[in-house]
C-alpha cells in the first residue's frame, strides 16, 4: 500500500515537470521589454503643473523623508515670490526606489517613472541635476495645481481667488 502511494507521488511530480514541456518561461530581458505594473516604482522625476510652471516648491520634505539621503536641494525665490528649487540633485547610485519622496511630496511634483535599471560609466553620472529630472508634463495628475489650493497670493492669483476661498476681509470695518 505504502509503495503504491510512493509511485503515485512520483508520477504526479513527473507530470508537473512534463506539463512544462514546450512552454517558454524565461524572459529575454533586456532585449524584450518588461510588462511592468502601472504602479511600478522607478526613478523620480519632477513634473510641471497645468500652467507649465514647475510644481516643486522646494519644501524639502522629500529630502527629509528619503531613507538613503540621496536628495539634496536648495530653495530659491522668484521675483513674484514663488519658491522653486534652485538646485535639485538626486544621487541615483544611492536611490532605492522606495517611493517615499513621491508620497511625501505635497504638490505632486515628484512622480516615479518606470525606469529603474540604468547603468553608467562613472558614479558621478548617477547624480542627476534638476535639468535632467524636470519633465515637460503633468504626469499622472493632469489637473492639480498646488497654488490654486494654497492661501498664498502668486502672480495673477490674488488673495481670495484660490479654490474654496472667500474674498479678502475688510479689516477696517466694524459692521457685523
Amino acid at each position: 500500500m505504502r509503495m503504491w502511494r510512493n509511485f503515485v507521488d512520483l508520477g504526479a511530480g513527473l507530470w508537473t515537470t512534463l506539463r512544462q514541456l514546450g512552454r517558454i518561461s524565461t524572459v529575454s530581458y533586456p532585449e524584450a521589454p518588461l510588462n511592468l505594473p502601472p504602479r511600478w516604482r522607478g526613478r523620480p522625476t519632477l513634473t510641471r503643473d497645468p500652467d507649465g510652471d514647475e510644481r516643486c516648491v522646494a519644501c524639502q520634505l522629500c529630502s527629509a523623508v528619503c531613507p538613503t539621503r540621496c536628495i539634496e536641494l536648495q530653495a530659491g525665490e522668484r521675483a513674484d515670490t514663488r519658491r522653486y528649487p534652485l538646485t535639485f540633485r538626486i544621487n541615483f547610485s544611492r536611490c532605492i526606489y522606495c517611493g517615499l519622496c513621491e508620497e511625501a511630496c505635497p504638490t505632486l511634483a515628484i512622480q516615479l517613472l518606470d525606469e529603474f535599471a540604468f547603468s553608467k560609466q562613472h558614479h558621478a553620472d548617477f547624480i542627476y541635476e534638476k535639468d535632467a529630472l524636470l519633465i515637460d508634463g503633468t504626469g499622472k495628475h493632469p489637473h492639480y495645481n498646488f497654488y490654486r489650493h494654497s492661501g498664498v497670493a502668486l502672480g495673477d492669483k490674488n488673495k481670495g481667488e484660490g479654490i474654496n476661498e472667500k474674498p479678502p476681509v475688510n479689516v477696517r470695518s466694524n459692521l457685523p
Binding site: Q60, A75, A124, V152, V171
Partner: protein, 765 residues
Amino acid sequence: MKHVFYLDGQEIPFVPGQNVLEATIAAGQDRQIPYFCFHPALGSLGACRQCAVKMYSHDSKHPPRITMACLLPASDDLQLVTLENDVHTEHREIIELLMTNHPLDCPVCDEGGQCHLQDMTVQTGHSVRHYGGPKRTYRNQNLGPLVYQEMNRCITCYRCVRFYQDAALGEDFGVFGSRNRVSFGRLEDGPLESPFSGNLVEVCPTGVFTDKVFRHDYVRVWDLQQGPSVCPHCAVGCNTTPGARLGTLRRIRNRQHPEINGHFLCDRGRYAFPYVTAHSRPLQPRLKGETSRQEAVLRQLASRLEEGRSGFLGSPREDLQSNLGLFALADCLHAPFAAVTSSWAEALAQQCLALPQAPSLQEVAAADRIVVIGDLDSIAPMAGFAVRQALGRGARLTVLASSRTGLARKGDYRPLRPSALRDQVAQLADDPCLQGGRVPVLLATAETLGPSGLYALRKTLEKLPANARAGAFVNRPNLFGAAYFAADGHTERLQQALRQREINHLLCLGADPLGEDWGAGAWRTLSSGLEGFALLDMVDSATARAAEALLPVAAFPERAGLFVNYEGRIQAFAPVYQREAQVLHSAVHGSGFPDAAGGMKHPLGPPSPLFWLGRLAELLHVHEAWQKRLDFYLHFLCPAAPDPDSPGVLLPDTIRARFEIATLPLPPTVGPEQWELDIFRWYGGETLADTAEDLQSLAPLRGLRVHPDVQAASATLQGPCGQLHLPVIPCEDMVQGVIAIDQEGFAELGLYPGDPVEVTWEQEP
C-alpha cells in the same frame, strides 16, 4: 519646602506664583498640555482655550471640571488630568476650530518644521477638517525688509501685539477689525519701526510673521547646523543660535540666557549676520592688493616683523584670545602694543572697567528708578529693551540726552548739551529722579558721556545707596576684554613711536584705524610714516583696502572664542559651521565627486586669528614663548574658561581696582555760544552690520542733524584732522546748539563727542 502638584499622576514641582502651564513647561512635561497664547515672557491670556486640563477636587462633593492651565494658579497637591477622553476631545476640537480657516500652505510656509501650530495639531491628533466651506482670507501688508507677513495663517493668539505693544512698547503695530475678521499689522504698509521687530518671527506660533532675510536663502530647520554663539554686535553679549547650511550662514535666532537676553533679540543681532556672506568680505590672503598664496603673505609679514620696527594694534571688535595672542606676540618681540585706536577711547574703556559691577539686563528690568544717559537704543538695543520691561513694571525713567530718543518719549526727558551731561551726572545723587526707589540703576552710552562723564558717574554711584548699579555700553563686543590688558598710555606710546620713526610697520587685528575707528583722523596723518601695514580682519574696510598684507580671518560663528561683555561677563562661543564655498551647479560630471556624492570637499574658509598669529610666531621662532605667554594671560584672566552652554563667568572685582586710578583726559571746555558735537547712531549701525543689505535699507540718511531753527542746506565742519561737508537734516528732537554726526564723521574730523566745533553754514546743498 518643595511644592508639587500632580499631572496625570506625575509629580510636577512648582514655585508659588507660577501657574500650572508655566510649571509644566518648566518641568519639561509640556507634551501633556497643548497651548498657544501663553508665552514664558509674555504671560497668560486665556484667549486660545487650548491648554485645558481636568481638575479633581479633594472632596467628593464637587465634580471634576475642565479649566485652563495657563489661568490656574499652581497649588499644592492639585490633581490634574489630561489623558481622559473629554479633555482630549476638548484639545482636538479647539484645534479644529483654530484650523478652520488655516490655509494649506505648509509646503510654502517658512515656519514649517518649527511651527507650534503644526506640533500641537499633530500632538492632539486632529487630521481631518469637518468644515468644507470657503476659507477666510486677508490681504498681506508689506512690513519692510525684515519681517514677512502672511495673514491668512493667523490663529489670533495675540502674542504679536502683546510683544510689540506691551513688552517692546512699540506704537506702530496693533490689532484691527472685529470678531472673526481680526487682523494684526500696521495702519499702513511700511517698515516696522521698533528695533525689536524681528522677535515677531519667534513669538508667532505659526507662519504669520516669518523671517524675510532667511526667506531669500531658505532652508528647512531640520537641515540647519546650529550651535551656541554670542552676538558680536554690541557690548551686551546676547546669546544667539546661528543656523548654517552648505557652509553659509542663513539665520540667527535667540538663545535664552536667563540674565541677559531672555527670550528676545534686537534686530541688529538678528539681521546683521550677512557680513559673513558679503561679497566684499576678504576670503583670500592679499599682498599689496593682489590675491596671493598664504605662505607668501606670511613670509612677507614675518620678514617685516623680523626687522623689529613693528607696532601692534588690537581691537575691541575681536575676541579675547585673538587680542591676547597679538599681545603675546608683541610681548615676545618687545614691540609696542595698543588695544584701542585712540587715547580717548582708551580712557573711555578704562573708565568703563573701573565702574563697579554693572547690573545684568534682568536686574535692569527689575529696577524701579532708572536714569538713561544718551541714546541707549541705538548703541545696545537690548539694554533699551530691559528698560522697557522695567517701565512695564512701573519703574520711573529719566533720560538725559541731546535729542528726544525713543526711550525719552517713554519717560521724563531732560534735554541737555553733551558738555552739560557731566555736571548733571555729578549731581544725580541728590536728584529727585532717583529718590524713593528701592533699586536705582544708571545706564549710560559710554561714548556720549565720555571718560570724564563716566568718572563723574562712578563718583555719583559712591554717594548712592549700596544697591545702586551703573552700566556703560558701547557697540563693540569686547571693549572690556581688549582694554583690560592695555595699561595707561599704550595708544599714546604706539603713536609716539610712529611719530618718532621708531616703528615703520603696523600689524592690526580687526581694527580700522584708517576708516571709522575713534582717532582715525590722527592715524591717517601718521600712516604716512608707515612703510606698510598688515591687517587680520573679516570685513572689508578702508584699512583692508590700503593694507600691504591682508590675512582674512574666520567670522565669529565659524570659530571659537571669548567675549567680555559690559558686565565683565566672560562668555564663550563655539564654532557652528565650517565655511565651504557653496557650489550651486555641481562640478562637471566625471571630474570629481560633487558634494552630494560625499566626495570632493570644497576649500574651507579662512582660519581664526590665533592660527595666523601662531604661524607667524613659528616663522619668527618664538612659538614656544608665544604659546606660554598666551596661556598665562588667558589663565590669569579666566582661570576656568567658560563653556559655550554655560552662563559665563564674571571678572572678579579685584581686577577693576587697577583701573580706578587711571588717568583722565581733561574734558573739553565749551562756551555757551559754541556748537557742540554729539554722536548720532541708529540701532542697526555697527561695523559688521554695515554690510547687511536688508538691515541697512532701513538706515537713516547720512547728514548733520541739528535743530530746525538753523536755516541752512548744508554745512562744513572744521576739525583738527580735516573737514567734513554734509547736508543738514533738520531734526525737531535735537537740542539747540548741538550737531549730531555719525562715527565716520568724527573719525574724519578727529574730534570726539562733546567737543566744540567750528561750523560754516551754507545755503547750497
